[in-house]
Symmetry: C2
Subunit: 506 residues, 2 copies
């Protein structure tokens, strides 16, 4: 075997050795079953370290070209398939692509479809999704808006746009944000494909792999997906009665260096809790002191049914540290996938570049459809209608809960949003309740889905937006019966459990 090693090359010596052995096999200079020199022997003759030869052999072994038998050395065990330039090569087809190995350590995370699969049955009352009621969609107004804007500017909308967004929609959002008490310059708005993408874009400019982000616990599962795995790590801070536990957050900020704090201050998902004004102010001061940006997710902000509106973190922020995200997916149309980010100009500039790399820009048809719809005051009208309907549904659910749920269960009365958060007695597991409840044709979301750590299996989220008050009452009645039955059987189990009996004695 003759090797020609180039010590000045940027190609490592082991790779040169491996390549040359591969070529010898390819052109037939080494044949199936031929014995290769021992590591030590080859290393000596080439004047390289033994480990260099070992690495080269390991690589060839990983490719399946050579194999070693204990005590008897290393042999050529395969010949590379056709495709090399050598004419004398043997023809041997490689096997199909080993995708499993290439993909194996990637995290697969499909909470959305996981949830969907459970709730496809038409005959089931769904309290599972925090989504708008489809029957309230103003479909005729919307269709007319689309038709109008397509008559006016179809050529522009079908052509490529700019990554920051459709200008008329940006202008509308600037005035909408002013109405919410946030003064925004045009260059401080980026249109995205909804809050999910907004989170993913913000992560890309502010968090490197391995860096930490503060999440509320429980929180929106889509946020957990964005900040877990290879992309970043998260620190979970519990949500108490007034929202994020700020005392704990303060300790944490003093000890660690998170890159972001993600919060849903109004009608928090899944708990429905709203941070009061003092907490909002303190959160901003903490973030300012420790120089940590906040992502404020205001997606439920407009869905307040009673009580007094509170200023957004963004409107309280004098430091320019809040990145505000919102979308049309709760107040309007999730299928259109349109959201927006408000942030200081420099942040938007970076986000814009990432948005472009990610998918160039959001659908112009979706953007223009919404823009035309809102320009005619139709969104305001629609939100008003939704507030009325959802508040009735919430009240129907609260009344039914009081009537049909066991005394041991506790829940809150959210002033807005889309769901009620229920805590069952510790002995009950909501996922197990769901199995029986599905038999009774009632679907809901077990609380576990929403925890970034320490899931509490006795919690559940009951969304009230997608069913009529009468269906809600009936569904809660059936669900209450399931829970009561399980509670009785659990109690019985505990009472008669020998273990519990022993514990009771001790």
């Amino acid at each position: 075997m003759i090797f020609a090693l180039d010590r000045d090359s940027h190609i490592p010596l082991y790779a040169q050795i491996a390549t040359q052995v591969r070529e010898m096999i390819s052109r037939g200079a080494l044949k199936m079953g031929d014995r290769l020199p021992a590591n030590r022997e080859l290393a000596k003759s080439l004047g390289v370290n033994r480990s260099t030869v070992t690495t080269a052999y390991d690589e060839l072994m990983a490719d399946g070209l050579i194999s070693s038998r204990v005590g008897s050395g290393t042999y050529v065990s395969a010949v590379p398939a056709s495709g090399s330039r050598s004419a004398e090569r043997e023809l041997r087809r490689p096997s199909p692509m080993p995708w499993g190995a290439l993909l194996a350590d990637q995290k697969r995370d499909k909470w959305l479809s996981g949830m969907t699969e459970a709730i496809v049955r038409k005959d089931t009352v769904s309290l599972a999704y925090a989504l708008p009621a489809a029957e309230l969609f103003p479909v005729d107004d919307f269709r007319r808006s689309v038709d109008r804007v397509l008559r006016r500017e179809a050529r522009g909308l079908l052509q490529l746009g700019t990554s920051d967004g459709y200008a008329p929609l940006q202008q509308y959002l600037a005035s909408y944000m002013a109405h919410l008490g946030v003064a925004v310059e045009p260059g401080e708005i980026l249109i995205t494909n909804g809050c999910q993408q907004s989170l993913d874009l913000i992560r890309q400019i502010l968090v490197r792999p391995g860096e930490e982000v503060v999440l509320e616990n429980p929180t929106y599962p889509g946020a957990i997906s964005v900040f877990c795995g290879q992309q970043s790590k998260y620190i979970s801070v519990p949500v108490g009665d007034r929202g994020l536990d700020l005392d704990l957050l303060e300790d944490l900020l003093a000890q660690r260096r998170p890159k972001l704090i993600y919060v849903v201050p109004s009608f928090h998902n899944p708990t429905g809790i709203t941070m009061d004004l003092a907490s909002r102010q303190r959160l901003i001061e903490l973030a300012a002191m420790y120089r940590v940006p906040i992502i404020e997710d205001d997606i439920y902000g407009e869905l307040r049914y009673d009580g007094v509106s509170l200023p957004s973190l963004k409107s309280l922020d004098e430091y320019g540290l809040v990145i505000y995200i919102n979308s049309f997916s709760k107040i309007g149309f999730p299928g259109l996938r349109i959201g927006w980010i408000i942030a200081p100009r420099i942040v938007i500039d970076y986000l814009d570049a990432v948005k472009q790399r990610t998918d160039l820009h959001a659908s112009l048809l979706s953007q223009a459809a919404i823009s035309e719809f809102v320009r005619h005051g139709l969104l305001a009208k629609h939100i008003k209608r939704c507030r009325k309907a959802y508040s009735e549904r919430r009240d129907a659910m609260l009344a039914a809960l009081a009537r049909y749920f066991p005394d041991e269960a506790v829940w809150n009365r959210p002033e807005g949003g889309m769901a009620i958060w229920v805590r069952l007695p510790q002995s009950l597991n909501a996922s197990q309740v769901l199995i029986q409840s599905m038999e009774q044709r009632v679907a809901f979301s077990p609380g576990e889905y929403f925890y970034s750590c320490s899931p509490q299996p006795n919690t559940l989220r009951l969304a009230f937006t997608m069913a009529e008050p009468s269906s809600i009452e009936e569904a809660i009645k059936r669900l209450g019966a399931v829970i009561k039955a399980r509670l009785v059987s659990t109690k019985r189990r505990i009472e008669f459990s020998p273990k519990a009996a022993v514990k009771a004695l001790v």
Copy 2:
């Protein structure tokens, strides 16, 4: 100063020290100007390493709370702002968020807007973009399709969808791919927001930061954005007359371990080159031998004006190693942002999960609009119309190039696609030509934009899709005049340059 260090805590000792000093400053136990104990002194009294105290002090210094003066020790130099729990704290406002520092090492990459900014003037003939001609958009057919589908299923389209895509569009694409010689199961298709997103999603499942990807050089700039910077590294392989240089690729595959090969085999962007059948087969065999997946970008595939259609890599692939991407952005409507990925089911499963994390799903309105449009055979009709118009425009450009460009310039005759690739004499710089050409109201893309390394400044891409034949002729005439003038002045400069004179003597 009294410290309470907990040696059993998971919080590092330096962090405990820093936190406690911070608290002492907050509650006024340490005041502005107070001197802190020297490192050695404090380390000794606490029984910790000196480096522990140094790290704690460094952190407090980075926060601006303490500062040290050479030779005189370390002092409290600031008091944290309000927001801490202590009541006695001083009120001092933190400064605005230092975004520049947080964002500084992120790569900003806005080639799209960079290109757009140069070409906003209405009076300019644009040969810069490889985009469809807006005047050919079948706007009435499209508007009627949207109206029809919204009348039929608006409620479903405005509601949240599933991340894999709108089922009728997936079904259409399965039959469309069959027509292109690729048999696809429904579970092997993922709908995306276009090829840019497809690339970004594929990167996320197959390439870890620091791993390498093979790119053609030159190539689509959006691919360079996806695979550069923190996301991955790329290896550039030159594109020759028959496409990607396969000899070089083979050497490279033998020596390195790229995770992907990205190619545009038909009407390559920007060179217009199409890989012949033998090259396609060899590329697949190479990839199979070295177990490297190929991304085949077939975005221009349908835009063939003459010559014989070649099978896609996907249709030649017996190993299941090709991930095929395509979109409606060249044959139809870039503004809708709809593309698709065809890959083995396991790959689609992973991509689907990333798609969900990224933005839940593509706009249902965009997907349904296209689906309705294609179902009525309108896309086939539209493609036919585009082929006719673009082929006339290409021919007009080729004729004008032959007539008005200097003899020293060379270009190819692409059988399809959207642009002609021109190589000027080495002495000319296309970016400089662009400045003068813009004065003559002609825009084009300097070739530099498309190089992932070793840019050749004398190249340019002339897109022929967005202007009428007569405008193309006029534009090429003006551009030819600019180039000829520069060529004359460059020659004169070289002739009279003392340096050149010296060189000529040597």
